[in-house]
Symmetry: D2
Subunit: 364 residues, 4 copies
Amino acid sequence: MSSSYGKNVRLSIFGQSHSEGIGAVIDGLPCGEAIDMEEVAKFMQRRAPGRNAWSTPRKEADAPRIVSGLVNGVTCGAPLCMLIENSGMRSQDYDRLRNMPRPSHADYTATVKYKGFADMRGGGHFSGRLTAPLCFAGAVAKQILSRRGIEIGARICEIAGVQDRDEDEFLSAREKEFPVLCDAQGEKMRAAIEAARMDCDSVGGIVEVRAYGVPVGLGDPMFGGMENELSHWAFAIPAVRGIEFGAGFAAARMRGSEHNDTFTMEDGNVKTRTNNHGGILGGITSGMPVVMRVAFKPTPSIGREQDTVNLAEGTDAKLVIGGRHDPCIVPRAVPCVEAAMALAILDAMESGGYYGYAGMPRED
Amino acid sequence: MSSSYGKNVRLSIFGQSHSEGIGAVIDGLPCGEAIDMEEVAKFMQRRAPGRNAWSTPRKEADAPRIVSGLVNGVTCGAPLCMLIENSGMRSQDYDRLRNMPRPSHADYTATVKYKGFADMRGGGHFSGRLTAPLCFAGAVAKQILSRRGIEIGARICEIAGVQDRDEDEFLSAREKEFPVLCDAQGEKMRAAIEAARMDCDSVGGIVEVRAYGVPVGLGDPMFGGMENELSHWAFAIPAVRGIEFGAGFAAARMRGSEHNDTFTMEDGNVKTRTNNHGGILGGITSGMPVVMRVAFKPTPSIGREQDTVNLAEGTDAKLVIGGRHDPCIVPRAVPCVEAAMALAILDAMESGGYYGYAGMPRED
Amino acid sequence: MSSSYGKNVRLSIFGQSHSEGIGAVIDGLPCGEAIDMEEVAKFMQRRAPGRNAWSTPRKEADAPRIVSGLVNGVTCGAPLCMLIENSGMRSQDYDRLRNMPRPSHADYTATVKYKGFADMRGGGHFSGRLTAPLCFAGAVAKQILSRRGIEIGARICEIAGVQDRDEDEFLSAREKEFPVLCDAQGEKMRAAIEAARMDCDSVGGIVEVRAYGVPVGLGDPMFGGMENELSHWAFAIPAVRGIEFGAGFAAARMRGSEHNDTFTMEDGNVKTRTNNHGGILGGITSGMPVVMRVAFKPTPSIGREQDTVNLAEGTDAKLVIGGRHDPCIVPRAVPCVEAAMALAILDAMESGGYYGYAGMPRED
Amino acid sequence: MSSSYGKNVRLSIFGQSHSEGIGAVIDGLPCGEAIDMEEVAKFMQRRAPGRNAWSTPRKEADAPRIVSGLVNGVTCGAPLCMLIENSGMRSQDYDRLRNMPRPSHADYTATVKYKGFADMRGGGHFSGRLTAPLCFAGAVAKQILSRRGIEIGARICEIAGVQDRDEDEFLSAREKEFPVLCDAQGEKMRAAIEAARMDCDSVGGIVEVRAYGVPVGLGDPMFGGMENELSHWAFAIPAVRGIEFGAGFAAARMRGSEHNDTFTMEDGNVKTRTNNHGGILGGITSGMPVVMRVAFKPTPSIGREQDTVNLAEGTDAKLVIGGRHDPCIVPRAVPCVEAAMALAILDAMESGGYYGYAGMPRED
């Protein structure tokens, strides 16, 4: 339990990989917001499987059906419920795994926690498929934020050690099928993925997301900081192993004189010359772009035989995972990371503290 | 607002650097737990300033006074309130900073968010001093967990690029004045800190924390995962820029065959041969040690003149920060990171879901 | 926003009267619980409209479809999502009400709060129809509680001033079409309802709910008391105007010597001779039956012409509400009140504090 | 656990009757609000004991000390911590009660829940003394609300069956030592209290609270309704047995045509001619005065010998409660009820939804 989160804008995600459907309820969306469902579909398409060589061939229609919360495409203040019917499920692939937990999957921990009652067909509630409702909610949030001048985009930073280069506009990457800034580096990443696939292996990578146009003053000190919230949202994406903001782990090797972002006036506004702080100071947004990087482990499902245990018999065992799986989930994770950023920011914007301050604030 | 967190064990931290006092209320502690206040004091001493060359000379008595919640040193089920009286405050050091935000501090964002009403003397509610109540709460949590067979310890992983080596028992580091496993590397770190201090500069670093003896089944999928919770707690510590679990960012460069932790039976228990997953699979603890690393930026307060702005006049300005500050806060951050780990684990252990799962309660 | 509630067992309700569907997500249900859907349907049928003279003729199939969370009828630990497709909607009845708020309905306040974007067709998210998902969730909770020895039942206490009498077993009422203990009094209530209907008017009443078999120790002091929680759940039912526990408002006219429930040993257990405290002392259950009474106002939709305002023109206006409505919603509210009781108790039972206390969990 | 509540303005209350101190932390107060401590003290004095014939002779200094959150008497955005030192404790009065639970007190339930570790000296955390921090927080909230045009006042409605009459301005009662509108009826109530005291007995009563000037649009549908929130706050006051809004339980005996509050335009504003809805429709404030009535049981501590059990020996027993206690707590409960109302309204005003609605902040 805890498939719901958010203080003012609260997202509740339901469904298992092989249940009748999956979906989301978003409670607390501002009313009067037009939601362009084609744009939503386009966004969700970015994480959809089966589109190319590096993703699983399972085809998802992933057609989100609006059950409630919209009237003529506009939010009415009531909870927005979205449902995706499940189809194309091949449960038999997973039956023999019941007692043979896949290494680095949730099979073992879920089996223990839920005393054997967990629905692990296709990964159940732990499946990457559950990021579809997350992306739906993120798409909705992004449209609302965009109307307020906030644009969020992510790119693949690195796959299998191959790093993207900083070229072009940062936000241009999100439009691409393979979302990198430098397509040449992107080609090398694709090659690395293909090489892993040929080896019945998988690779990981890093996604960077930025939010532009974020006003000063979102977030709170201590437990309510934007980093606390952003990481709370982002770790909901399966396979995330690390998160950093601004200079991140590299900051640990910098000196203060190098890392400090000095202030300067720019067109009457306070700016920093550098952005090692990633747009967040003391948990509160500074008006500079919010920058987060998220590390993904290599897909745990690989074609090779692996050691595991037989839980029923209490013995060591060998396992070959059937079905086909993404040799690298990083490209499909890009919109998920955007979604996490969008939801964290929208939730913060809808908080009383923020409007209390900004709105513009009360004059008293 | 949001200086409180926790679902079942809820911590509320109050105080500003220069208010009359600082402290904490912990609501939801299990009853009947003896709290050894000498042990608490010893733990809090590990983060206390003024003890040595690398920390600020401000002396804190930091004597925590129990206001409520303990009867004869034993938790009685009512909220535990702890108060530290403030003393030795030199507010004049900060007066001139009112309109001159220190680079990479919360001065600017807090001033905007709180419309000029924020108490920024000594950093106010954003001060590192507020980690004292966090450590108090962590010390309490650690004692309770220790009684349940869970031991938590952290060490300095790296400072200024100098890395610790893996020697001895991991938990041995926490007992040391300079908590590293390899004292020789520790010497080099100290030298790097001293060099920065001589340069009127500062350095950052990385802390690694581990929890041993954690049972299988803590945490929940998706937003309730242990990573979500641990990072939510840990980002409450000032200066944290990144968090990773298990192999962390390095996982992004590994192949699945290398990263996957294969299962094996060991004395009738399911174990993994490696621990790249850092003791958490699908958000739920696996029974292997929980491993988190936390990156700290270099102390933003440095002795050098820095560029900033004058908020009152809307112009660029020069700033020299008076007072004396830690050239490196990493050593003092070590117990803070342990506290975050302890609180996240205790909160998860006290959740209904966990006991519900266990079918049986904790073994004590 | 705030159509979700619960700490450990969290219910999120979605849908508007005339949206595509309505439903619920329940997050945090214990796993391994078999849910008998026929029993659920039977329970939901008790609040379904159109069954008799005193309820609206709109027929609801109200067939709840399980979208997720059950595997072969057993809870698997993942959120349980239930969906009811909407049908038989006659929106035209409500179109002309857009600017003419119905007295004592939410039309006016919702219109202001949601800036005119609220979906008020059929009452929208404020419709009594939204108690169907509440009853679904309550039916699920009741089955789980029943397995733990807790039985919950309600009855009509009073309608239009006609009071039920205490006869038979209290729980026998819930099985009846018209749930009173004394059928003769029930006849008088029905007559009062019919009389109101003939007058194009409506009547209110009081529902009493009890939970038998509740263990000692559920609930917390102060804000976490069972009364706080029970009333928080129960006020989600439309038309509730008051709530009382045990002797309730009558306690205000009793003397302490009369009201105090003295303790006595009974078969080795501590009991009270009377139950003016309604099974709750200091917010915590005492082991005696939990007793709550809930007052319902008369249905605000009546056939008579009423005064209102025209919001568009800013003038006074006359309104005749079309469609047909329950002259008394009390009979259909009975299962809703049971649902609120069941959900509050299950949430409390699943809390860490409870199991923590028990030292021992449920026996299953 | 759960001595904290509130979504945006969160109150955490700590302390036991005989701990070193009691107090409160309020997290999320708007910044820039001047708090007049003399006015706070005056408000708290209204609930202080020992002032007259009907309250316990224990004298409390009840001098609230501000530990944090105010700078020069103005809220700075950081959590506001207030501490009251305990003194004048006579624990010996309670020692012999350890195994002899007082009827209709929390002694028995707390003993079971906290496995004998509960601090029940003087009622511990369950003591009416803990309403002092509640009143402190309420006093702070009232000042902030007053600045926004919202005035909250309560009166004694009824004691021992003697009812107040509606005379004068409703808010005038709160200024009186014995807060009723009709002093003649007040005299009769006092006589009834005195009569009970002479009989070593106690009496209960009803308090009515109203909030004037509340804007339209506070609160949310379903679980977030103002009734849900108000009752959640109000049941934190010990001895509350029932709560009703507007016409309340009397509504159950009215017909719709009588109960419905018809709308009318008044000076360009939408008003209702009557206020049976108590200022709340669909959980959302209507702009009419918010009206809540709260029923209090007679003080359970009475001078007479009572039956109870000896928990240690498992036998029936006789109990005479020593010390002196209020023969009626209703007069002192009046400010507590005002506090609950003020906190619920301030919390709702500070919510994102409210400002979100406005599209623009409050007009003040």
